[in-house]
Structures are given as structure tokens and as C-alpha cells.
Symmetry: C2
Subunit: 348 residues, 2 copies
């Protein structure tokens, strides 16, 4: 190992790695290049009167040298070392921005910034973001995995703590997950209790852990109450609004259509309710149970069962676990599972 790489590894180990990415140009370098005194450079940056020509010369030299004035130098030097990357599959899903809110509140109180990265559920995009987090020497990563093929081995080899949220990210990674199977079960039982019988289940792609587990909860309930779960009633789509709309049309066009629907996440639920309302048959004409909240709704939807998932708490818990790891906690990996909560139905 060369002396140079050893010195860098040592700097990296004490968390000061980000500093080496900075221009080291000083006020003296800027003064020399601009042909003015260091005091003049200082005056420009302190907003004290300097002639336009000299101001322009100092600014040009500073730009060319990528000089960073003192007032923000501390931020710049410690910057990404105090940042946490949060990689999520859908930035437009309020469930994940609520998770981000929880992470930020805890991280911010501890002096950490959070940078949010949207993988769009795409493994290649996700891998790019994980690479950026490592290359920018961020403190750690909180990850809602794009799917089963998510690969965190390089990040782990680079010594960054990782916390998985919502979906596990392989063995050996700390995780904060929802009780998804129980949520699917509770949503389905609530519809069966209300008298619906052919209850369909709409989830995201089956390469996503939360889809499989919520579907398994639906299956548990159908088998327990009706003796079997008709596979034709399980509809994998996407965890988006459009997925809910499309599923309703497809399921209602079937030979033996359902009389109730479990929506596997908030967006599927909103799309499904929208579509049922357009067709003139909003709940309770068909039963509807949604896993996750329905944020930003103007009118409380009556006759819709909601199994609330505590997204903000998930974020807060994950951030606390990451802070523990950053503080040196080297206990074996752990998994925290948060329970959903069936809200009282607002019957119309």
C-alpha cells in the first residue's frame, strides 16, 4: 500500500474523508491570482466597499480556483460527512415522504442532513445512488429497496452503516419493517366481517416483499373464513394510482367479479376509489379496505376501511438505529417490526 493511499484510508477512517474533496485554495491564492491584497479579498467577502473592477477580479479568481469563503467553509468541509442518504422507490408516494419526515426530524436534531434519492423502483438507479452515497463519504444510508435484487454489498464493504426500511435488504442488514402480513389479514377480515365475500387483493409487483406479504395476509384471511382463496382474485399491478384504476377495470371485467377490494397500498387505494366513483359505484357499493393512509383527502371517505401504517414512526426508528450504529454500536443486526392499526370505519 502506498503512503498516499494509507494516509487517505486513515483520514477516511476518522470520518474526515470529505475534506479531501475540497479545493484547498486560500484567500492568499485568490489574492495572488486577482492581483490584489489578501485584505481586499476579505473585504469583498465581507461586503465592505471595494471598487467594481477589483470585486470583479476577485470573484473571477475565486471562481477559477473554486475558492470557498470562510463563512461557509465549515459547512463545506463537514458537509457530506454529516449527511445521510435516503433511497426510496417513489418520491411521489406520501407514504415515503412521511417516512422521510420522520427520518429528518431525528437526524436533524442530531446534526445530520438527509439527502433523498428516488430509485423509481429501478435497480440500476438505486445502485447509482448507493454509489454516490459512498463516493461522497456520506455517513450512512437508509434504504427502501427497489426489489429483491437490491445489492448493498459494495456499500457494506465500504464500511457504511445501512438501515433497511419498509422492505428488507438481504441478511445482516438492520431493518425497520411493517407487520405487512397482519395488515393484509386485518384489511381482509374487516371486509368479510362487513358481509363482502368475493374479496380481491390488489398489490404491487410480486418482486416486492411488501406485495407478497400483504397478499399472504389476504390469503390467510380468505382461507380461514371461506376455506380457500381464489387465485383469480389476487391482482398484482404497480404501487401507483394508475395501478389501482387499471385493477378495478380488469377485476370487474372478469367472469365472476369481486364484491370487495383490498388495496395493497395508499396509491392503489386512491386510484381504485377514484375509478369506482367514476363508474357510479363508490364504496360501500363495493367493499374497500386500504393498507396505508389516505393523505390529502378533502372529504373523509365513508365506508372505507383503513389499516394505517406508521410511516413516520418507521422513519424515526430507522434514523435512531442509524445514529446508534454511527455511535459505534456493533451489536448483531436487528429487525424492528411495527404494527398497523385498523381505523374505525366511517360508515355513511
Amino acid at each position: 500500500m502506498s503512503t498516499r493511499s494509507r494516509a487517505r484510508a486513515a483520514r477516511g477512517a476518522d470520518g474526515g474523508g470529505a475534506e479531501s474533496a475540497l479545493s484547498t485554495a486560500t484567500i492568499y491564492d485568490v489574492a495572488k491570482r486577482a492581483g490584489v491584497s489578501p485584505a481586499t479579498v476579505s473585504r469583498v467577502y465581507n461586503g465592505v466597499g471595494v471598487s467594481p473592477a477589483k470585486t470583479e477580479a476577485v470573484q473571477r479568481a475565486a471562481r477559477e480556483l473554486k475558492f470557498v469563503p470562510n463563512s461557509t467553509a465549515r459547512n463545506l468541509r463537514t458537509g457530506s460527512a454529516n449527511a445521510i442518504a435516503l433511497v426510496i422507490p417513489d418520491i411521489e408516494n406520501p407514504y415515503f415522504t412521511e417516512t422521510a419526515r420522520g427520518i429528518e426530524d431525528v437526524a436533524s436534531a442530531a446534526g445530520y442532513s438527509v439527502m433523498l434519492c428516488n430509485s423509481d423502483g429501478d435497480i440500476a438507479k438505486e445502485s447509482t445512488y448507493l454509489g454516490i452515497a459512498a463516493s461522497a463519504h456520506m455517513a450512512g444510508v437508509i434504504l427502501a429497496a427497489a426489489g429483491d435484487d437490491t445489492d448493498v454489498s459494495a456499500l457494506r464493504a465500504a464500511g457504511r452503516p445501512i438501515i433497511a426500511v419498509d422492505r428488507s435488504a438481504g441478511g445482516g442488514v438492520d431493518s425497520v419493517l411493517m407487520a405487512n402480513r397482519a395488515a393484509g389479514y386485518a384489511a381482509t377480515i374487516d371486509l368479510l366481517d362487513a358481509g363482502y365475500r368475493r374479496v380481491a387483493c390488489m398489490v404491487g409487483g410480486m418482486a416486492i416483499e411488501t406485495s407478497r406479504e400483504r397478499a399472504q395476509g389476504w390469503r390467510d384471511a380468505m382461507e380461514e373464513r371461506l376455506g380457500s382463496a381464489d387465485p383469480a382474485l389476487l391482482y398484482p399491478t404497480t404501487f401507483h394510482l394508475e395501478g389501482g384504476r387499471v385493477s378495478i377495470d380488469a377485476l370487474l371485467a372478469a367472469e365472476n367479479p369481486p364484491d370487495g377490494f383490498v388495496a395493497g397500498n395508499n396509491l392503489i387505494g386512491m386510484g381504485a376509489i377514484q375509478r369506482l366513483a367514476e363508474l357510479g359505484t363508490p364504496p360501500p357499493a363495493y367493499g374497500m379496505a386500504v393498507i396505508g393512509s389516505l393523505p390529502y383527502t378533502i372529504i373523509s371517505p365513508s365506508s372505507v376501511s383503513i389499516v394505517r401504517l406508521p410511516a413516520r414512526e418507521m422513519g424515526m426508528t430507522a434514523a435512531r438505529m442509524l445514529l446508534d450504529r454511527l455511535a459505534g454500536d456493533d451489536a448483531p443486526p436487528r429487525t424492528v417490526v411495527l404494527g398497523g392499526e385498523l381505523l374505525p370505519r366511517l360508515d355513511s
Copy 2:
């Protein structure tokens, strides 16, 4: 200027600065530290069978040296140099996540990643994020400023292109803005045309440009049609759901309450409609016009006027401008203003 700092400035100038932040440990360094051959290290990383003891030794050495295996090394090296920071004041506001969607679509097609930073409308947090963007050698920044005191001078001095969205960020910065005054005017006129007379205007804090301009549009309309705009009808709150709820209560408790409301953004609108519905007097009992969209609503709110603001287009335009600047465009700063669109009202 020292040789060392000159070399760094040169590396920074050709965009390769991020590389200097990386551990330069090689497969040979790892092999030496682990006491195995380089071929063994390679086998570990290619998943070929190696004894558990040797695998463990290699992984430990790699962790200690922060060694990055080849498969992801390219990502890590070019990582943050191909990243754009997007700094917004509220990550839970769908208006900004829609903007982010537009930015990502354009940036991603050009090979750039987007890292989203939530300033919470706090100047100190915003400054930290701008510092991280510079220290991590990100390609550029797109910024929806926290307020009038936003300071981008350090970033500009560091030679990073900046595009302001939604709110301008001082002179000399490229901007993509909404026609806010026209939007405030159109929303107010629509309510006056519908027969409402005492039309109140709820906006965010007056330190935010969009608040002032939308309020000015309301004032224009009131003065044009009624001869004057009663200052008691202008209610500055926060651009959040709670702001809308609180404003309704405060305005309705006034001695001479309004009969209609212009909501200065989507969240104020949603909170205000929620609160009016709770009070048993949803629109059209009171007039309601919302600037911005009402996303994720399950039931199309009837009797609500909406002046849609093209958030996704704003993001796409900003990303294209940033890409132009990165490609060397050095034309003078420009401002693009996007028009809102009054949607047809859905009268009940």
C-alpha cells in the same frame, strides 16, 4: 498557490474532483493486509468459492481500507460529479415532488442523478445543503429558495451552476417561475364572477415571493372590480395544510367575515376545504379558489375553482436550463415564466 492546491483546482475544473474523495486502496492493498494473494481477493468479489476464513480476512481488510470492488467502482468514481442537488422547502408538498419528477425525468435521460434536500423553509438548513452540494462536487443545484434571505453566493463562487425554481434567488440566477400574480388575479376574478363579494386571500409567509405575488394578484382583482381590497381580508399563514385550517377559523371569527376564499397554494386549499366541510359549510356555501392542483383527492371537489400551476413542466424546464449551463452555455441569466391555467369548475 501551492502545487498541490493547483493540481486539485485543475482536477476540479475538468469535473473529476469527486475522484479525489475516494479511497484509492487497490486489490493489491487488500491482499497484502489480508495476507492472501490478489487472485484470492478477486475470487471473493466474484463469488467464487474461497474458504470462510480467507473470505472473512479479505472482507475485514476491505472494510478497514474502505476498498471499493471493481463492479461498482465506476459508479463510485463518477458518482457525485453526475448528481444534481434539488433543494426544496417542503418535501411533503406534492407540488414540489411533482417538480422533482419533472427534473428527474430530464436529468435521468441525460445521465444525471438527482438528490433531493428538504430545507423546511429554514435558511440555515438550506445553507447546509448548498454546502454539501459544493463539497461533494455535485454538478449543479436547482433551488426553490427558503425565503428572501437565501444566499447562493458561495455556491456561485465555487463555480456551480444554479437554477432557481418557483422563487427567484437573487439577481443573476437563471429562474423558472410561475405567473403568480396572474394566478392570484384569475382565482379571485373567478370567485367574483360567481357572485362572491368579500373574498379573502390566504397565503404563506410574506417573506416568500410567491406569497407576495399571489396576494398582489388578489389585490389587483379586488381593486379592479370593487374599487378596493380590504387589508383585513389578506391572511398570511403558512403554506401547509394546518395553515389553511387555522385561516378559516380566524377569518370566519372576524367581525365582517368573508364569503369566499382564495387559497394561496394546494395545501392551504386542502386544509381550508377540510375545515369548511367539518363546519358543515363546504363550497359552494363559501366560495373557494385554489392556486395549484389538488392531488390525490378521491372525490373531485365540486364548486372549487382551481388555477393549475404546471409544476412538472417547471421542473423539466429548469433541468434543461441546468444541462445547457453544464454544456457550457454562458449566455446572460434568463427567467422563464410559466402561466397557470384556470380549470373548468365542476359545479355540483
